[in-house]
């Protein structure tokens, strides 16, 4: 057991998979000599060499395209987006080539596309986004967005071993801010399973990534007021673990969804629809959402603070909901 940051946990997972399977290769911008913009891949080139750790030109479409071609020959490429915002540059490769490959012609694409996402670090409109829902809307992809070092390591390993294309979002706010004891050995966390991070009986908060920690903070505050909150970390957005959500709502009868993604078209709407379809009779109040504003991510600190959800906004919505 070792105390590691979120970033170190991702690196450990990558390192272990590179070590156990020669079919795993990595490609991306500045991942080799430089070790990646956030140093996630630091030390990889030294250990695995030029053939397996490939510095590419600034060509997101070519990075994903090449990863597809490699996976067709049985490799398991892990491609990095320097910031996940740049995933928009390879949208076509991902949604048209990668996602449809197995369905339309039986050609699996066992690749991972990973990169730093999310706000709260004053990165501005192009280095702070949460573009996960473009891809959750794309059948054929899997979308993973962990919140803890333990899950980050276990999920990146599962993602690499999966026979399907997996988008792996790493919230950069968490990279060096949280630490956790994780096992040194080879463990995995299965894709598609949510986890109850805090048990409670009064209402359920469904959330993921950095907002999982913010939600836990809000839950601690609400506990002092006598509101007992259950917090569920989705961990994987596609496929979505409907059962864990619905089971929790059946217990608490109230649902608040919290995410850092913007509101319209965010996963909160989808979750609300699922709960209405599968557990409408169990609800004692409206399904509420706390999300970022429906705007681009602004740069200046007071603006970004206004944009993002926080403990106060979550606690406020939870109090409203608890009154029902």
């Amino acid at each position: 057991m070792a105390q590691v940051t979120f970033l170190e946990a991702v690196r450990a997972g990558l390192m272990e998979e590179m070590q156990r399977d020669p079919n795993v290769v990595m490609l991306g911008e500045d991942i080799g000599v430089y070790g990646g913009a956030f140093k996630v891949t630091a030390g990889m080139l030294e250990k695995f060499g030029w053939e397996r750790v490939i510095d590419t030109p600034i060509s997101e479409t070519a990075i994903v395209g090449a990863a597809v071609g490699m996976s067709y020959l049985g490799l398991r490429p892990v491609a990095e987006m320097q910031f996940i915002d740049f995933i928009a540059c390879c949208f076509n490769q991902l949604t048209n080539f990668v996602a449809k490959s197995h369905y339309r012609c039986g050609m699996p694409v066992p690749m991972v596309l990973r990169g730093p996402s999310g706000g709260g670090v004053h990165g501005g409109p192009f280095h702070s986004q949460n573009p996960e829902m473009y891809f959750v809307h794309t059948p054929g992809l899997k979308v993973v967005y962990p919140a803890t070092p333990y899950d980050a390591k276990g999920l990146i390993k599962s993602a690499i071993r999966d026979n399907n294309p997996v988008l792996f979002f790493e919230h950069k706010f968490l990279y060096r801010r949280i630490k956790e004891e994780i096992p040194d050995d080879d463990y995995t966390v299965p894709l598609g399973q949510a986890i109850v991070k805090r048990e409670g009986k009064d209402l359920t908060i469904v959330t993921y990534a950095a907002m999982m920690h913010t939600s836990l903070e809000a839950a601690a505050e609400l506990a002092k007021e006598g509101i007992d909150v259950e917090v569920i970390d989705l961990r994987t957005l596609l496929p979505l673990d409907r059962e864990t959500i619905v089971q929790s709502v059946k217990k608490t009868n109230k649902l608040l969804v919290v995410h850092e993604d913007t509101k319209t078209g965010g996963i909160a709407g989808e979750i609300a629809a699922i709960v209405c379809e599968e557990a409408f009779e169990e609800l004692d109040g409206p399904i509420l959402r706390v999300t970022s504003l429906d705007t681009p991510v602004p740069y200046s600190p007071p603006l970004e603070e206004r944009f993002l959800p926080n403990v106060q906004k979550i606690a406020h919505a939870a109090r409203e909901l608890a009154r029902y």
Partner: protein, 408 residues
């Protein structure tokens, strides 16, 4: 002839072109009978390109066709029934009716990647195929095609740039048929020869008469050999003309009539037929016999397709994900011990050749400069063992030798 063809091979080229054309003639009839579900794209007049290029590949090599490369699929080993059933959306089609036209492939045996409709995207994908083949020690060449229209996409540039910087064994055939749907090439691109695009990537750009199947074969073979020797990608521009509309629905009235007449006289099959007859490799009797044989085969294949069922509706729900239905196993043709267990041997540093000064690095042939750099970081022809410098065919310059390893 640099790469001599046997008599059989020369007749083979003719056979495939005839098969390609007669197959498409049957499909036009099926289209008119409303038996083809979606669109039908013709390669009339362009058969020599599909056939001549694909014929230069070996069995282990990989290709990814475009919409007008049905001929290449035939050469690589697909059967006419695969083409018929694909177009008729039948359950017996390679994609079971989930996709149509030339959008199918076979990763395992034939090494064919299934294309998508978005142009240019196959170029980075086939670059990845080429890179993976090198990593696995397979010594393969990857080939794909693009039209004059598709050469304007961003994916074209990103893919070629990556292929060239990685010296990936990729042959890109630009099939310049002079029309991107209704827009002539001159209104789309500012260069006369699309092969000139190659200069931007420091790779050879070859031009060939796309209506001369032997010339296409010879040029492609040159490119393939070069790739196989580890000298990096090649662009071939095959000049030709699209003799039909973009697809069946398009009468192509925008093509000037004299232009169509000009190219009609240059039909690749007619031209090649004359050659073969003059050389005594073909006569009226053997030609008629071959046509009868093809017609019979096509009739059987078409009947198979016509008698095939459409897919059951519930198939629509299946196969979004691979749930263990495919076993994924790379075919290693080099010792895995080359890379496993990992050997710590690389120093993470760039040694920049020439420090960016003017001089040698701006020499006329950038490929030579690249090779001369003796670049230990640079991708090599053959998968190098960890820690060993790839061998360079060019003599390293003094500066490069001093630096030991440089980066372009």
């Amino acid at each position: 002839m640099k790469y001599p063809l046997t008599k059989e091979q020369r007749v083979d080229l003719y056979y495939y072109m005839k098969l390609n054309r007669m197959l498409e003639e049957q499909m036009v009839r099926l289209f008119r009978q409303n038996k083809i579900v979606g669109g039908l794209y013709s390669s009339l007049g362009q058969e020599a390109i599909s056939i001549g290029t694909a014929y230069a590949l070996e069995k282990r090599d990989w290709l990814a066709p475009m919409i007008r490369n049905i001929g290449a699929l035939l050469v690589k080993g697909f059967k006419p029934r695969d083409i018929f059933t694909q177009h008729m959306a039948k359950f017996t089609a390679p994609t079971l009716g989930k996709d149509g036209t030339s959008h199918f492939g076979d990763l395992d045996k034939l090494h064919v990647v299934s294309p998508i409709s978005m142009l240019g995207d196959l170029i980075p994908v086939m670059t990845g195929v080429a890179m993976a083949g090198r990593y696995l020690g397979q010594n393969i060449v990857a080939m794909t095609w693009i039209g004059d229209g598709g050469s304007s996409t961003g994916a074209f540039h990103e893919g070629m740039n990556l292929a060239a910087s990685q010296r990936a064994p990729l042959v890109l055939v630009i099939e310049n048929n002079q029309w991107a749907y209704s827009t002539p090439v001159g209104r789309q691109v500012p260069v006369k020869d699309l092969a000139d695009r190659a200069k931007a990537y420091g790779v050879p750009g070859l031009i060939v008469d796309g209506n001369d199947v032997v010339a296409v074969y010879q040029t492609t073979k040159d490119a393939v050999e070069r790739c196989r020797a580890g000298q990096g990608p090649v662009i071939i521009e095959a000049k030709t003309h699209r003799m039909k509309g973009h697809a069946q629905h398009d009468p192509a009235e925008y093509v000037p009539a004299p232009m169509m007449e000009f190219w009609k006289k240059r039909d690749p099959i007619d031209l090649y037929e004359k050659q073969l007859m003059a050389e005594g490799l073909l006569d009226a009797r053997s030609k008629a016999a071959m046509e009868a044989r093809i017609e019979k085969e096509l009739d059987e294949e078409r009947e198979f397709a016509e008698n095939s069922p459409l897919p059951p509706p519930e198939l629509a729900e299946d196969g979004v994900y691979c749930d263990g239905c495919h076993e994924i196993a790379a075919k290693w043709k080099r010792p895995i011990e080359d890379v496993m267990p990992p050997k710590a041997s690389v120093k993470a540093e760039w040694l920049v050749q020439g420090f960016g000064e003017m001089g040698e690095a701006t020499a006329a042939d950038p490929v030579a400069v690249m090779a001369a750099a003796g670049d230990g970081n640079a991708p090599s022809s053959k998968a190098p063992k960890n820690g060993k410098k790839p061998k360079s065919t060019a003599k390293p310059s003094k500066a490069a030798a001093k630096a030991g390893r440089g980066r372009r």
